[in-house]
Subunit: 784 residues, 2 copies
């Protein structure tokens, strides 16, 4: 468990004050560096000990078989798995003849700092070798946000009290040994040594290795180059072979003397380009990195981040833990997306191999709202990636005998990789989530060019999917049958409210977008009849409502299902202890579903319905998914349970810093980290945009004295500054002089002349604070 005594709560960094080997898996994820293209897990420079060695290139994957004991038509036969590529982080150190290894000798001091403003991972170590020689080691690692193909490490060794002979081996290593990843020997076979050597070369102080995957046909290049500073004589040599290259630096250091090594790394991959083109690309990136130099890379990194924080920072006064956590989350979401550039943003970013490195609806549903308001170009790139896999989505729809496009539940390259259809293919809502993300981008940024470029096609093809999935019954009611909503503890149902509302929204915005771009719509073959059918389906959609209880059933019949027996079954997560056959037909919920509908389709529900629905579903939600706490935070805040909302915000924010789901070692939970921002901004800030207007309605919980956050809205930059009494809206700059927003439901005109301060609207809950299932009350953040 990561605790404050080792990881002090500090506003702009995560600092580990001493090395705890049991936490290596966690810290490798927490300290991962990435720019969305290259990802380096926070492995120790010397490689060992490790939990999972990891170097990833976005969308560089291998194909693996998906086995089924009982197969079915349309089941994907090939999965895609991110692979650990050539490791360039490795810098081994010999002190005299003894390898620097924290498990031997004595570690007198060890500290690591992930710095959110510098964008670096700094490490300092003071080590006494088994033979008694002391050295200080300082390494600083970065993955450049400014230069997409580049990473770099500054590595400094200092002799402390006696002369030491120092040997540094700086390496590229392909096909590192991996921990057992699967009980299926065929899968292990694929992922064990996934890279085939293509070419290797080296110069005096650098090397390039080229490899390719066996099945997916991708080729990658990894290059390194070194600068060495040391007083006195030094010997630098480099060698390479198929799976490794090593630059060896040997020198002697007297007490106080230092060896400084700067290692530049460059990565590239391609499914198309030739061996020589790829080799030249890596060589060019290395040259460019050396041209910029270490200090230049540091400076551009800091500058990139300063810009980011200027338009994205959230200040949380009174709650230093949330303050640290939300910045940690923002930093990692930035790292996952900044330079992904038309590649997927995986659920774990590039921090680990969890979920095989796949992207899910997490991206559009949870990560893109944050990016759309803070880093819109990254949101646009992520949406372009989605549009780029339209062909695979169309093929999938055709295979399933549907029209339009069926986007994959999980994928790297675009093909469906979900091997369990009730919680995969049947979760059709991913298509509406994608459509909504395009629409949000248009509304929030005011940029209609993306819609024209590719968004309209996505809207049209997803609308077509819904039109072919749904049907009008003999009473003229439009149903979606056999669908799975966000909650994976109830699947393959009739009329999931979330899915139906989202599908109707998808159908309407597609029709509207076609009106905006009749020429593009025409090229896509959209007729008046088709649009009319979309609008009619949306108008006739069935939204079940339980009049007797006054709540919306999550799906048809949900509120008359058996209740879960929490008295005897409360070992969480339930899915590891209970079979689907028992979970599905009960009123037990893995994650916000109807409650998420109330956030994303807020305007559909009355305040009374929201209050009753929150009350009903809170009692039945286990939060076994990491995609739940943030939404529960937003809706608890909405209905006035501000303290509960604060607890959920804390959970969403601390998911990885406190390893709440006990799987942070597999990678960080990007959706929950982005969700912490959403919990603060949409929960306590009251941000909504589902009617096309920027609506805010702030109200803080007791434990937060002041919340200050920044948004971009149609090229305006706003700052919202909330305390318990009032809220100050500052229109920093923008394309016009004024902007009208909704404050607490009332129109409010802001101008760039001066901030405007409004009283906070009191939020009184209609119902008392609800209970959660036994053992599932949120971690009490309130120090009561």
């Amino acid at each position: 468990m990561i605790t404050e005594d080792i990881f002090p709560v500090e506003p702009w960094q995560v600092r580990e004050t001493r090395l705890v080997l049991d936490l290596l898996g966690n810290t490798e994820s927490l300290f991962a560096l990435s720019n969305g293209h290259i990802g380096l897990r926070g492995n120790l420079d010397e490689g060992e000990p490790h939990s999972l060695p990891g170097t990833y290139l976005n969308s560089f994957y291998e194909v693996r078989p998906l086995p089924y004991a009982e197969a079915g038509f349309g089941y994907p036969e090939a999965g895609q798995t991110i692979v650990d590529v050539t490791n360039g982080k490795l810098i081994r150190l010999l002190v005299d003849d003894e390898p620097f290894d924290v498990r031997y000798g004595e570690l007198l001091h060890h500290e690591r700092i992930l710095d959110f403003r510098a964008g670096t991972l700094r490490r300092t170590a003071h080590w006494r070798s088994p033979a008694g020689k002391q050295v200080r080691i300082r390494s600083t690692r970065l993955v450049s946000l400014a230069q997409r193909s580049v990473a770099a490490i500054e590595y400094v060794v200092e002799a402390v009290d006696r002369f030491v002979r120092v040997t540094v081996q700086s390496q590229l290593v392909a096909n590192e040994d991996q921990p057992e990843s699967s009980r299926d020997p065929r899968v292990s076979a694929v992922l064990n040594r996934p890279l085939v050597a293509v070419q290797h070369e080296h110069s005096d102080r650098g090397a390039i290795l080229l490899h390719r995957t066996r099945s997916s046909g991708l080729m990658m290049a990894a290059a390194m180059e070194h600068e060495v500073e040391v007083p006195g004589r030094v010997e630098v040599t480099t060698g390479s072979s198929e799976d490794w290259a090593t630059t060896t630096v040997i020198c002697g250091l007297r007490p106080g003397q230092r060896l400084r090594l700067v290692k530049y790394l460059a990565y590239g991959w391609s499914s198309l380009r030739s061996r020589t083109a790829l080799r030249d690309q890596a060589a060019a990136a290395i040259s460019s990195a050396r041209y910029t130099g270490w200090d230049g890379l540091l400076a551009s990194q800091r500058s990139y981040l300063a810009d980011f924080w200027d338009s994205a920072d959230v200040e949380v006064e009174g709650d230093p833990e949330c303050q640290q956590a939300v910045r940690f989350g923002l930093f990692h979401v930035l790292q996952a997306s900044a330079r992904a550039e038309r590649r997927a943003i995986p659920a774990k970013g590039l921090t680990g191999t969890g979920y095989d490195g796949h992207a899910f609806w997490d991206t559009e549903g949870f990560v893109l709202p944050l990016l759309t308001y803070t880093l819109p170009h990254a949101a646009a790139d992520a949406l372009r990636w989605r549009a780029s896999i339209l062909d695979q989505a169309r093929e999938r729809a055709a295979l399933l005998d549907l029209t339009g496009a069926a986007f994959p539940w999980r994928t790297i390259h675009g093909e469906e990789c979900s091997a369990y259809w009730p919680a995969g293919t049947a979760a059709w809502h991913v298509n509406a989530d994608i459509a909504m993300a395009f629409e949000r981008y248009r509304i929030v940024t005011g940029d209609e060019s993306l819609e024209r470029e590719c968004g309209l096609e996505v809207l049209v093809e997803t609308a077509r999917l819904w039109a072919s999935l749904g049907h009008h019954d003999r009473h003229g009611v439009w149903h979606l049958d056999g669908v799975t909503g966000p909650d994976e503890y109830t699947a393959v149902v009739r009329d999931n409210v979330f899915t139906n509302l989202m599908a109707a929204h998808n159908l309407r915005i597609a029709a509207d977008a076609c009106e905006r771009h009749p020429d593009v719509a025409g090229r896509l073959g959209v007729t008046e009849q088709e649009k009319a059918h979309w609008r009619k389906a949306a108008a006739d959609v069935h939204i079940p409502y339980d009049e007797e209880l006054g709540v919306h059933p999550q799906c048809e019949g949900f509120t008359t299902l058996r209740e879960w027996d929490f008295d005897t079954n409360q070992t969480y997560p339930l899915l590891l202890h209970e079979p689907y056959v028992r979970l599905y037909p009960t009123q037990v919920i893995k994650q916000a579903d109807l409650v998420l509908a109330m956030h994303w389709q807020s305007h559909y529900f009355t305040p009374e319905q929201k209050a009753r629905n929150v009350d009903y579903y809170e009692r039945r939600t286990t939060r076994d998914s990491s995609l739940s706490a943030c939404t529960q935070a937003v809706m608890c805040a909405d209905v006035g349970h501000l303290e509960l909302a604060h607890d959920y915000t804390y959970e969403a924010a601390m998911i990885d810093l406190r390893d709440l789901h006990r799987n942070t070692r597999d990678g960080l939970h990007m959706a929950s980290l982005a969700g912490a921002w959403t919990a603060l901004v949409a929960g306590f800030g009251g941000l909504r945009d589902d009617t096309g207007v920027l609506a805010l309605d702030p109200h803080l919980p007791r434990g937060i004295t002041r919340l200050r956050f920044r948004l971009r809205w149609r090229d305006f930059r706003l700052t919202i500054d909330v305390n318990h009494a009032d809220v100050t809206y500052t229109l920093r700059d923008g394309p016009h002089h004024s902007l009208t927003i909704l404050h607490a439901g009332e129109e409010l005109m802001l101008t760039t002349d001066a901030p405007k301060t409004m009283p906070v609207r009191p939020r009184r809950p209609l119902l008392p604070e609800p209970e959660q299932p036994p053992g599932r009350a949120p971690l009490r953040h309130r120090k009561e």
Copy 2:
């Protein structure tokens, strides 16, 4: 395709008039011999060519891994697969130096006859070797119904026109090469060479081989012994090794001279007994077979079958194809069950490896009705097998957090082996099907001892399962949610009518049985309260009904689901061309479900409901399962569509003789073969027993002029003899002088004094004959 020119329609046998190599897979299944303990596929004596070599011992299986790309709690990890054991059928022949192989030389004549009264497979061949030497070969094979461990072959070779030197190699061969069985290399690894040699020994004219399985820990013995008759000098030698034993007979034959070999085979297996005990068991069985001798084995076989036909035969005048087919079906059902003796009756009997050799609800639902009325001791043994796996069923229920027992959807040894839970575990109805089979046995035989011995415990534990699966909603209505009924194209639904009616029946008969045996019930811990709860649940069960359409929806909401688009999707079976995600939420049906409920719970439905329901479901049933045609036959007859019923009877009966599902090569469809009997007896005979009374209501279709069938009812033996005008009931003998039955709904007292003849009640359909889905009208049997 098996056609009449090669397989003439004959009443008491299946005869193949010439060898068609493309049909080898089919004929190996059709000509399989078994007694329920040993199964020999109809492979050629000389072993090759073959489609699938097969020798099976009931419940002798190996364990294999069940792989999941995405695993879930409660998914079985180990499957069970029947294995091809040591082949004792092999008799190779050399004519001079050339091996007898039908693919070489010239096959002047070849005929095989499966004789339903002799219980043998006879083969005659006249072959000219490539060198021009002619021989006649006659082999007769039997698997003894009288001596459970014994099979035997008489093999005769005759020189035709010139002197030939004849070498016969009679063998035992273990670990025969198998065709590729799975794309999963781990599964193939398990099933390729599954037997480990334990011991081998031989004498002059015989040998014994002992082997064991690698994982399941079962040991088996196969023994052979030979009698040789030949004029003149003969040399007989025997050798053995780990995986083979061969008795070689060499002699010279002048034209007209014959070599006659009788090969006795004995098999045994055990999970408990020692190597020496098993060896001695096989040796004793061989001795006993030799003591009986070939003629004795033939005579006892014929006598056993004479008894069977005397109480089971069905005579179908006017329809020779159905006549042959129903006897073929009765013969194979007998073979699958006669000496199974507390082992499972697999879906394919012991005729092939289809469905891994598993037993399903097919046994209790389709095979046991026939056995209960014709061979009750075999039905009792099959039920004892079910009771014997109660412990595994209890463990499964406990794992799934349920009370009582959850019997496996598919198994050999008792553990759940279904790897797809929506059409496996969720098909809870198997438990009620089992309960009903116990109840039917009690009602039909009048024997209450089986209930006392083991049936009550099954009834109680299955009732407990239902009590824990179902729940009362807030309106006091009892529901079963998340269940899959017989129809596998709609799964994990609310209130499947079939399941709900069967569960209620299970609950009621369990409570009633506890009243009959209060002492046993007390030992099982059944309280008054528990019984009251069972009765209340049964009374409150929800049976959805669509008032507007006047039909019972197969499950809640079924009649408002989307209709299947048969215009563009009619490649059958649909499951090979359409995904579950599309099949489940539509009104397309794989197999009788609501229609089956109307057969098994006939008393619940009014004649009008039956007529409307048949009409509704006929139009939506693809009959993609082999478990459908027989039920459609019964209910079409019930509502007066007698010609349609005749067509379905034909389909059920001809499933394997005409290879209608194109998988007869994998083994015969026992349920459908038994279903042919049901179609005739329950369809045209009108047999029902679901109210505890023997009810008959015969009415024949145009194409059957006379139907005569035999039943056992509470130790009475009845013959029912129907023509288009009247029906004659003969009470042949019984424990009392008289028996009251229902004829056409009216009480009728039969006595052993004299037959009673009654007029047939006219059956007029309320609705016109329905259409089937495009391409799914039954094979038109009517020669119109």
